[in-house]
């Protein structure tokens, strides 16, 4: 059965986008390496990370991007199109943190005949607040088929 589809006309500026939590435990750091194939030791070797001046290992770009993309693609449905994503690694998600990912709608307009929506999406944790702010541009289908 097809999943429900969000349409451009149904989006309200200011609406919150439901997200999810992920606990950063050892198993998650291994999943991170498996899923990203990023073998740079700063993401799995505490001694390497500390020698570089970090407090501990921290989750990598591939993992953070996968989480942000999940927030967006779960929200936009099968027919939505993520046209652009910009995100910054300002602070770290480390073992012991609970990473919370969510977002909100910041703008909605038509451009070149298509229904565009702008989102703020982010990852945060209790220690540092927002660690990974992101902005996304999504094209959604319209109810009239345009």
């Amino acid at each position: 059965m097809r999943r429900p589809q969000l349409h451009w006309e149904d989006v309200e500026v200011g609406a919150e986008i439901e997200g999810f939590d992920i606990e950063i435990r050892p198993r998650r750091t291994f999943l991170q390496i498996s899923g990203s194939q990023d073998w740079y030791p700063v993401h799995h070797d505490p001694a390497f990370a500390r020698k570089a001046g970090h407090e501990d290992i921290f989750m990598n770009t591939g993992f953070l991007q996968a989480a942000l993309v999940r927030v967006i693609t779960d929200w936009m449905g099968d027919t939505g199109f993520l046209r652009k994503l910009y995100f910054e690694m300002r602070r770290q998600q480390r073992p012991g943190d609970t990473m919370i990912c969510k977002g909100k709608v910041t703008d909605r307009y038509r451009k070149d005949g298509e229904g565009w929506v702008e989102l703020e999406v982010w990852a945060e944790n209790e220690r540092d607040g927002v660690t990974t702010p992101a902005k996304a541009w999504v094209i959604l289908p319209s109810r009239d088929g345009v």
Binding site: R3, S36, G53, T61, G62, Q65, A66, V69, R70, M89
Partner: protein, 177 residues
């Protein structure tokens, strides 16, 4: 005495040059997508379920719109890797790396079975101090990823910070007259 790092010479030599060009050895595959989704508990059937994906307008499993995953299929995934993502070609005083940001623009979906290629170039290089390294170097790299029909599917721009360890910074201070 350590040789002085000449940021202007590095900028002149490397900005604008193509640092890597490659085509993925393997097509976009189900299992790499599955592993990618698993790390973030992403259960989207469009990325995981061939039967479901075939019932949609897409007709096939989509690759999640992650620049990281697109780069993986275009070059980094197979072993041995065609190139490392960390731009070792550009000299910098420090070898420790942190990815600071990424911008990905999408122009088309990537589907299972697609063959991806990538061209990467250095867009900018500059020096800006961070708390642990006054001589940290920042490198902006761009990547254009195309599919088997030579269509551009995405453009990626990211900023990498290269820094020294605190020990290396302290050692450099001792050798500076």
């Amino acid at each position: 005495m350590a040789e002085r790092y000449d940021i202007e010479a590095v900028r002149q030599k490397y900005i604008g040059i193509e640092i890597a060009k490659s085509s993925g050895r393997y097509p976009v595959e189900y299992d790499a997508i599955r592993r990618h989704c698993h790390m973030a508990d992403d259960n989207n059937p469009l990325f995981l379920d061939p039967e479901y994906a075939a019932s949609t307008e897409h007709g096939a499993v989509l690759c999640p719109p992650s620049g990281w995953l697109a780069l993986y299929f275009a070059s980094l995934g197979p072993w041995p890797a065609v190139f490392e993502p960390l731009l070792p070609i550009v000299p910098a005083p420090g070898k420790r790396i942190v990815n600071m940001n990424q911008e990905v623009e999408w122009f088309a979906h990537i589907k299972v079975g697609d063959h991806l290629s990538v061209r990467r170039r250095v867009a900018d290089i500059y020096q800006k101090a961070i708390s642990i390294d006054p001589e940290a170097v920042w490198i902006v790299a761009e990547a254009i990823i195309t599919n088997q029909r030579d269509e551009t599917v995405c453009a990626i721009r990211n900023t990498l910070l290269f820094h020294r360890t605190p020990e290396e910074v302290a050692a450099a201070k001792e050798t500076t007259p």
